[in-house]
């Protein structure tokens, strides 16, 4: 309504401004999305044909072979299981710890409030560093265990403060009336606060899940030689870093190797990349509203 009244006397410079805005935003969209579509197309293209190059976003010779091939790698199956498990457990545990701590430090009458929140906040600014942490994991006998994926990062100060600022917005009267009804603090947390804090919890759940799913360095550092505890990201990293197809290289020898191995390493790389990425792409549009809110909330508060 408002814009239409002004559209009629849109000035010349505003029109150019509009054109630039749409051009740049369109360019950003293309630059963001093209690489993913290109990778998808190569992963669905016949591997020998792919060596010729020139595939854009549509496969030239469509095939599922690359995917069939990668699912016969045992490392990938184990990696998928471990990644899924750490994502589920790590998210649940992270939600529990962050929400409980947030609940306690959001209570103004809690005597330990100042101590607990300062103790947490300090961890955001000072860290022991790579090697002291490594040595600690060794001393705690967490090397070559699944627990090393879950335990060290289970309490995150950042997440606590995001949930806490959300709880601050829930009227305290709700807690008081629950207390009058004879509820103890744990019941209030479980029955009153948790259901009301769902938007914040959804945001944190997404952060935690994405962090867990995408982690690879802990596998590299602590469980690199333990095939039973490998993760999907780590397997992908190993495949991508393998120099079987370095930059350049002899075109002809690559055709030969592709022909003999049926699947060229390049197609394999692209197919694994897609497998690793798809779970996240499926989840994130549904949670978009939540995390935008959560991000904004956290930023405004901190």
């Amino acid at each position: 309504m408002d814009s239409s009244t002004f559209a009629s006397r849109k000035s010349w410079s505003d029109r150019i401004f509009d054109i630039i805005v749409y051009l740049v935003v369109t360019f950003v969209v293309i630059v963001t999305v093209y690489p993913f579509l290109n990778v998808l197309a190569i992963s669905l293209n016949d591997s020998i044909d792919s060596v010729r190059g020139g595939i854009t976003i549509i496969p030239r010779e469509f095939t599922w072979d690359n995917y069939v091939k990668i699912f016969s790698f045992s490392g990938l199956i184990t990696g998928f299981k471990i990644s899924a498990l750490r994502t589920i457990l790590g998210t649940l545990l992270g939600l529990l710890t962050a929400s409980m701590l947030a609940f306690t430090i959001a209570r103004e009458d809690f005597q330990g409030r100042k101590f607990v929140s300062t103790f947490l906040a300090l961890t955001m600014y000072v860290s022991g560093g790579l090697i002291p942490t490594y040595m600690l994991m060794r001393d705690l006998h967490l090397m070559n265990t699944f627990a090393v994926y879950i335990l060290p990062g289970a309490v995150s100060a950042f997440n606590v403060f995001i949930i806490r600022s959300f709880i601050d917005g829930i009227p305290y009267a709700l807690q008081e009336s629950a207390k009058l009804d004879g509820a103890n603090d744990f019941t209030i947390y479980w029955r009153v606060i948790l259901p009301l804090a769902k938007p914040a919890l959804a945001t944190i759940a997404l952060f935690l899940a994405v962090g867990q799913w995408n982690a690879w360095f802990d596998t590299y550092l602590y469980n690199g030689s333990n095939e039973a505890l490998t993760t999907l990201q780590f397997e992908l990293m190993k495949v991508l870093q393998s120099t079987t197809t370095g930059n350049g290289g002899d075109y002809r020898s690559k055709i030969v190797s592709a022909a003999t191995n049926q699947v060229s390493p390049e197609s394999i790389k692209m197919a694994i990349t897609i497998v690793v990425t798809v779970p996240i792409l499926i989840v994130y549009p549904f949670l978009q509203n939540y995390f935008v809110k959560g991000m904004t909330l956290g930023a405004v508060k901190s």
Partner: protein, 319 residues
Amino acid sequence: MKAATNLQDLPTKKSSSGRAWKTLKNQKYLWMMSIPFVIWVFVFSYLPLWGWTMAFQKYKPAKGFFEQDWVGFDHFKTLFADETFFLALRNTLVMSGMGLVAGFIFPITFAILLNEVRLGFFKRFAQTISYLPHFVSWVVAAGIVTKMLSGDNGLINDMLLGLGFIETPIQFMAQGHLFWGIVTLSDVWKETGWNAIIYLAAIAGIGPELYEAARVDGASRLRQVWHITLPGIRPTIIVLLIMSIGNLLNIGFEKQFLLGNNLVTDYSQVLDLYSLKYGLGMGRYSFGTAINIFNSVISVILLFTINGIFKRTTKESLL
């Protein structure tokens, strides 16, 4: 105030401590819900700081704490005499500096442009797409970047060849002097949309009456951006700037680890990778710890300095 009441209550001290005991008992669930995690944080975040003692020892894993040989600042002396250290420090500072500048310019510009898109559907679509790379891991992102810049059939080389700008493909990933730019642009590609969220929220908080007044006065859209939008998000920019500068040395090493290779080490090795390779990788735990300490201490000093400066000049503070 607390002390004053305590003084007044001196004769009835017993009842005061009794009251404290009662509060403690009343809040037992709150304590039970926080103390276990405080201990947890102590173990995983504070105990590594105890490990800093290693840097002042000739640390041998087999020995107990009291059996270690203490060497004072020897490891730091070795560190400051090592040319590789200064190379790593330079790389860390340059790449974080470039990341800092790009990490502000691109998201702010993108947020402003997106805010000017009037088609609601296109705006939502573009925003949703722009977050996408934030959610993929650096392993995937590095794989994609390497693929796009690849010497055979990489998109960038194909385009340059097709347009006739070059005769033979450029081996982007093998050129040291290109590495900093590649890392920075990869970061821009991955995080611009995500980082724009905060600025978009800040822009949404600017009162529409300001824009209306400007329109009545005949200000063009560009002038509105310059005189209303930019000043409107200034506080947000400052807060985020302080946070980023405090993290200047904590830029992480994932990008450098995954995008780097032996040909570009002189440009890709950052402090954490240096401690990983020359400390942990060679079993020199004490030396590696010294590197980590240097990193952490400088970060904290930076954070407090910058925060202090901003506090004095703009009255905005984080701490």
